[in-house]
C-alpha cells in the first residue's frame, strides 16, 4: 500500500513529544493539570487530523481531473519537466496565456 514511513514517523513523533513527553516533564504549578490536559488533547486532535488526511490519500480511488492547460502549467511550474522550447511559436504564446491564467 502507498504509505511512506518517513512522514508518518516524523509527524507521529512530533505529536508524541507534545502529547506524551511534555506533560511529564512539566514543572509544578497550580495549573499543571489543566496544562497537561491541554497538551494531550492538542496532540491527539492534531495528530488524528493529520492522520485522517494521510489515510484518505493513501489509496486514492480517484485521480484529479485537470484542464490540459493546467497540466502544462503544473509541468512547467512544479515539475520542471517542460520547457518553453517544446512547443512551436503559436502554441507557446497561446498556452502561456492560458497557463498564466490557470496558475492565477
Amino acid at each position: 500500500m502507498g504509505a511512506d514511513a518517513v512522514p508518518i514517523a516524523v509527524v507521529t513523533g512530533f505529536w508524541a513529544v507534545v502529547g506524551i513527553i511534555l506533560p511529564f516533564i512539566l514543572g509544578k504549578g497550580p495549573n499543571k493539570g489543566v496544562i497537561q490536559t491541554v497538551l494531550v488533547i492538542t496532540a491527539v486532535t492534531s495528530w488524528l487530523f493529520w492522520l485522517l488526511c494521510y489515510l484518505h490519500q493513501m489509496n486514492p480511488l480517484i485521480g484529479p481531473q485537470l484542464h490540459n492547460t493546467t497540466i502544462l502549467a503544473i509541468r512547467y511550474l512544479w515539475d520542471g519537466t517542460l520547457s518553453l522550447d517544446d512547443f512551436n511559436e503559436t502554441t507557446t504564446t497561446n498556452t502561456m496565456e492560458t497557463t498564466t491564467a490557470a496558475a492565477i
Binding site: 487530523f49 493529520w50 490519500q57 509541468r75 515539475d79
Partner: protein, 832 residues
C-alpha cells in the same frame, strides 16, 4: 485534580461578630473576596433594616461626589487615577468624609451662584455697552440729517410737514435674540400700524447666557415712536419677545458719560469674575486629586453596610450573626482576615463555625485570565451542578479545534491569530482602557479563545492545504501529468490515473492534502468524501469522550448503579453502531485502492453509507453476482458480524430502559420487608400497618416517576446518538462553504485585478484598488461573518452534542462579596 475539573468544595459557615468589630471584619472579608453571605432577613424590606441610615448617608455622599465629578468634568480638569485602592475607612471617619464633602459642595454651590450672578451682571453691562455704541450711530445719523435739513431721511419723513420745529420723538433701546428679530419687527409693524420706526444692528460677538452657559447671538434695536400710548404698546411687545430694555439717555454728553461708567464697571467686574473662576478652579483641582479615592471609599462603606444588613441581630450577646459560603481551601485565609478585622477594632474575636447542611452549595471554579473565557462559554449554557465534572478544561482545546475544522484556512487563521495575539500582547494597556463598547468587550474577553482559534485554523488550513483558496506545493505534489503533446492538444480535460506509476508516485503528499486537488476540476468530489468522513469520525470521538466523562460523575457521586445501568449500555450502543461506522471508514481507506487485485480496485469499493444503512435495517444476505469480481461486503464474515453488532446494540436499549427502575424497585421492596420485620417490636400492630401502606403508595408513585424519567433519558440518548452524529456533519458543510466562499471571492474579485491591464502599468493600478476590495471583503465576510457562524456552530456542538452526554448544569454560581467586583460594577455604571 485541579479545581477546574470540578468545582471547589464549599462549606456553609456561621459567623458570630461583635457589633464593634463587625464592620472591620466585613471590610477585611471584602478585600479578600472569597465569602458569599446569605441574606438572613429576606422578608424584611430595605427600609426596615438595621443600617439603613448609614446606607442613606452613603447615598448622600455618593450624590455629592457625583455632583463634584460632573463639575470637574464640565471644566475639563483631568481626574487623577493613581490606581491605588484605599481601604474602607472606619465608621467614625465617615463623619469626617461627610463634613469634607458637605463643605466642598457648599463652597462649590456658593461659588457657582456667585459666578452666575456676576455673569448676569456682566452680560447686562456688555449689552448696555453695545447699545450705547450702536445707538450712537443712529443718533449721529439723525442729528446729521437734522443739521443738513434739506436732505430727506427716514426720520424726517415721520415728522408731520406742518409741525413747528422738531417734535420730540420717544425711543426705547434694548437687546433681543437675533433669530427673533423678523417676528419682532412684523409684530411691531402690525401692532403700531407702521407708526414706529425700528433700527437694529447685530452684535458681532456671541454673548454667554448665564443660565445655560451657551453662546447666543443678539442684536441691538432702537425704536422711535410718538406719544405715550405707542410707548406702552412698544414696551409690551418688547417684554413679550423677551427683549431686555436699557435706559439710554438722550443727550450725547450723558451717553458718553454713561459709556465711560459702564466701561469701568465692566473692567471691575471682569477682574472679580476671573477671581471667582480661579477660586472655583482651585477648589475643583484639589477635589479632582482625591475624588477617585473618595468614590472608592464611599462605595466600600456602602457595600459593607449592605452586607451588614443581611446579618441577624443577636440581642443577648450584642453581636451579629452571619451565614456564608466559603471554599474549604480558603477557610484559613478567612480566619486570618477575621483576626485582622478584630485586631483593628480591638474587640473580642469573631467566631467561625462550620454548619452541616443539606442545601446544595454554590458552584465555584477558580479560574485565571486564560481559563475564564472558556468557563464563561460553559456557564452561559448552565452553571455546573455542585462538584460535577466541568467540561471547561477539555473545551479549551476541543472548542478551537472543532472551530478550525470549519474555518480551516491558513490566511484567515493568520489574520485571526494576529488579532488575538495582539490583544493578548497589549493586554494590560487595553484592559486599563475601560470602554462600554459591547462588541469590543466581547472580543477582548475572548482574546485567548480567538488566539487559539486562529492558531488551530492555521494548522487545519495547512492540512486542507488552503490559503486564501490557493494551495502550497511545499513537499512536491505526487501527481504528474505526463501526457504526450497530441493527447494534451486533443483533450480539454484529462483525469490522472492513480494506478499509473507515471502519473501518481504511489505515496501520498506527506503533510495535508495534495496541492493538485486545489486546481482539480473534481476537487469537490474529493473534498466532500474526505470532509464528511472526518466530520463523522471526530463527532463520534467527541461524543464517546463525553459519555466516558460521565463515568467520573457516577463514581464521584457514588452511584455505581448508573455505571452498570446507564454508562455501559450507552457506550456499547454507541460503539456497536457508530464506532463500527468509523472502523468501516478506516477499513475502506486501507483496503481499497488502485493498483491491487480486482476485488479491491476503486470500482469495487462499496459505499459506506449504503453498507451502514443496510446493516441497521437488517437487510438479508446479498450474494456476489456470478463473474463479478466485486463483492458487496468488505471482508469475510461481515454479514454475520454486523448482525451481531446490531443485536447487541438493540439489547442495550431495554437495558438502559428497564434495568435501573427494576433494581430500584427490588431494593425498595427488600427495604420494606426489612422494616416490616423489624417494625413488630414495641409498635402497635395497626399503626405499623398504616405506615407501611403509606410507604408503599409513596413508593408506587416514585416508581412511576422513575420509569418515566428513565424512559425519557433512554429515548433521548438513543435518538440523540443518531441525530447528534448527523449533527456533526455541520463540520463538513461549514468547512466546504467556507472554502467555496473563499474561492469565489478570489475568482470574482482579486482575479479581475490580477488579469487586468495586460503588460502596461494599468494593471498595477487596477490591482491596487481591487486588492483593497478583496481584502476588506475577506475580513468582513470570511473572517468576521464566517468566523462568527463557525463559532456559533462550535458552541452548539459543545452545548448540545457533547455536554448532553454527562453535564447536568443545575447549579448556581458562587458570588463572593468582593470589593474588586463591586468597584468594577460601580465604575462601569459611572462611565455609562
Amino acid at each position: 485534580m485541579g479545581s477546574l475539573f470540578r468545582s471547589e468544595e464549599m462549606a456553609l459557615c456561621q459567623l458570630f461578630l461583635q457589633s464593634e468589630s463587625a464592620y472591620t471584619c466585613v471590610s477585611e472579608l471584602g478585600e479578600l473576596g472569597l465569602v458569599q453571605f446569605r441574606d438572613l432577613n429576606p422578608d424584611v424590606n430595605a427600609f426596615q433594616r438595621k443600617f439603613v441610615n448609614e446606607v442613606r448617608r452613603c447615598d448622600e455622599m455618593e450624590r455629592k461626589l457625583r455632583y463634584l465629578e460632573r463639575e470637574i468634568r464640565k471644566d475639563g480638569i483631568p481626574v487623577l487615577d493613581t490606581g491605588e485602592n484605599p481601604e474602607a475607612p472606619m465608621p467614625r471617619e465617615m463623619i469626617d468624609l461627610e463634613a469634607t464633602f458637605e463643605k466642598l459642595e457648599n463652597e462649590l454651590k456658593e461659588v457657582n451662584s456667585n459666578a452666575e450672578a456676576l455673569k448676569r451682571n456682566y452680560l447686562e453691562l456688555t449689552e448696555l455697552k453695545h447699545i450705547l455704541k450702536k445707538t450712537q450711530v443712529f443718533f449721529d445719523e439723525r442729528e446729521g440729517s437734522l443739521e443738513s435739513g434739506g436732505q430727506t431721511s427716514l426720520t424726517q419723513n415721520l415728522l408731520p410737514e406742518d409741525s413747528k420745529g422738531p417734535i420730540q420723538l420717544g425711543f426705547v433701546a434694548g437687546v433681543i435674540l437675533r433669530e427673533r428679530i423678523p417676528a419682532f419687527e412684523r409684530m411691531l409693524w402690525r401692532a403700531c400700524r407702521g407708526n414706529v420706526f425700528l433700527r437694529q444692528a447685530e452684535i458681532n460677538d456671541p454673548l454667554e447666557d448665564p443660565a445655560t452657559g451657551e453662546q447666543v447671538y443678539k442684536s441691538v434695536f432702537i425704536i422711535f415712536f410718538q406719544g405715550d400710548q405707542l410707548k406702552m404698546r412698544v414696551k409690551k411687545i418688547c417684554e413679550g419677545f423677551r427683549a431686555t430694555m436699557y435706559p439710554c439717555p438722550e443727550a450725547p454728553a450723558d451717553r458718553r458719560e454713561m459709556a465711560m461708567g459702564v466701561k469701568t464697571r465692566l473692567d471691575d467686574l471682569s477682574t472679580v469674575l476671573s477671581q471667582t473662576q480661579d477660586h472655583r478652579h482651585r477648589v475643583l483641582v484639589s477635589a479632582a486629586r482625591n475624588i477617585r479615592a473618595w468614590m472608592m471609599k464611599v462605595w466600600k462603606i456602602k457595600s459593607i453596610y449592605h452586607t451588614l444588613n443581611m446579618f441577624n441581630l443577636d440581642v443577648i450577646q450584642n453581636g451579629l450573626i452571619a451565614e456564608c459560603w466559603i471554599p474549604v481551601a480558603n477557610l484559613e485565609d478567612v480566619q486570618l482576615a477575621l483576626r485582622r478585622g478584630t485586631e483593628k477594632s480591638g474587640s473580642l474575636p469573631a467566631i467561625l463555625n462550620r454548619l452541616s447542611t443539606h442545601e446544595a452549595p454554590p458552584t465555584f471554579h477558580r479560574t485565571n485570565k486564560f481559563t475564564k473565557a472558556f468557563q464563561a462559554l460553559i456557564d452561559a449554557y448552565g452553571v455546573a451542578t455542585y462538584r460535577e465534572i466541568n467540561p471547561a478544561p477539555y473545551t479549551i482545546i476541543t472548542f478551537p479545534f472543532l472551530f478550525a475544522i470549519m474555518f480551516g484556512d491558513v490566511g484567515h487563521g493568520i489574520i485571526m491569530a494576529l488579532f488575538g495575539g495582539w490583544m493578548v500582547w497589549r493586554e494590560k494597556p487595553l484592559s486599563a482602557k475601560k470602554t462600554d463598547n459591547e462588541i469590543w468587550n466581547i472580543f477582548f474577553g475572548g482574546r485567548y479563545i480567538i488566539l487559539l482559534m486562529g492558531m488551530f485554523s492555521m494548522y487545519t488550513g495547512l492540512i486542507y492545504n488552503d490559503i486564501f483558496s490557493k494551495a502550497l506545493n511545499i513537499f512536491g505534489t505526487s501527481w504528474h501529468g505526463n501526457y504526450n503533446e497530441s493527447t494534451l492538444l486533443t483533450n480539454k480535460e484529462l483525469t490522472l490515473d492513480p494506478g499509473n506509476k507515471e502519473q501518481y508516485d504511489q505515496y501520498p503528499y506527506p503533510f495535508g492534502l495534495d496541492p493538485v486537488w486545489q486546481i482539480a476540476l473534481n476537487k469537490i468530489n474529493f473534498y466532500n468524501s474526505y470532509k464528511m468522513k472526518i466530520s463523522i469520525i471526530f463527532g463520534i470521538i467527541h461524543m464517546l469522550f463525553g459519555v466516558i466523562l460521565s463515568v467520573w460523575n457516577h463514581r464521584f457521586f457514588n452511584k455505581p448503579m448508573n455505571i452498570y445501568c446507564e454508562f455501559i449500555p450507552q457506550i456499547i450502543f454507541l460503539t456497536c453502531l457508530f464506532g463500527y461506522l468509523v472502523l468501516l471508514v478506516f477499513h475502506k481507506w486501507v483496503w481499497y485502492g488502485a493498483g491491487g487485485a480486482d476485488s479491491v480496485s476503486p470500482n469495487c469499493a462499496p459505499s459506506i453509507l449504503i453498507t451502514f444503512i443496510n446493516m441497521v435495517l437488517m437487510k438479508g444476505y446479498q450474494p456476489t453476482p456470478e463473474g463479478d469480481p466485486c463483492s458487496p461486503y468488505m471482508y469475510a464474515g461481515q454479514f454475520g458480524f454486523q448482525r451481531f453488532l446490531v443485536c447487541v446494540g438493540l439489547i442495550c436499549v431495554p437495558w438502559m430502559l428497564i434495568a435501573k427502575p427494576f433494581i430500584l424497585h427490588r431494593n425498595n421492596k427488600r427495604k420494606l420487608m426489612m422494616s416490616q420485620a423489624n417494625g413488630g417490636e414495641g409498635v402497635i400492630e395497626e399503626g405499623g400497618g398504616e405506615a407501611a401502606a403509606a410507604a408503599a403508595t409513596e413508593e408506587v408513585h416514585d416508581m412511576g416517576e422513575i420509569m418515566i424519567h428513565q424512559g425519557i433519558h433512554t429515548i433521548e440518548y438513543v435518538l440523540g446518538s443518531v441525530s447528534h452524529t448527523a449533527s456533526y456533519l455541520r463540520l463538513w458543510a461549514l468547512s466546504l462553504a467556507h472554502a467555496q466562499l473563499s474561492e469565489v471571492l478570489w475568482q470574482m474579485v482579486l482575479r479581475v485585478g490580477l488579469t487586468a491591464g495586460g503588460t502596461g502599468g494599468v494593471g498595477g493600478v487596477v490591482t491596487y484598488f481591487i486588492f483593497a476590495a478583496w481584502a476588506s471583503l475577506t475580513i468582513a465576510i470570511l473572517v468576521l461573518m464566517e468566523g462568527l457562524s463557525a463559532f456559533l456552530h462550535t458552541l452548539r456542538l459543545h452545548w448540545v452534542e457533547f455536554q448532553s452526554k454527562f453535564y447536568g448544569g443545575g447549579g448556581y454560581a458562587f458570588v463572593p462579596f468582593a470589593f474588586e467586583t463591586i468597584l468594577e460594577h460601580a465604575e462601569t455604571a459611572v462611565t455609562e
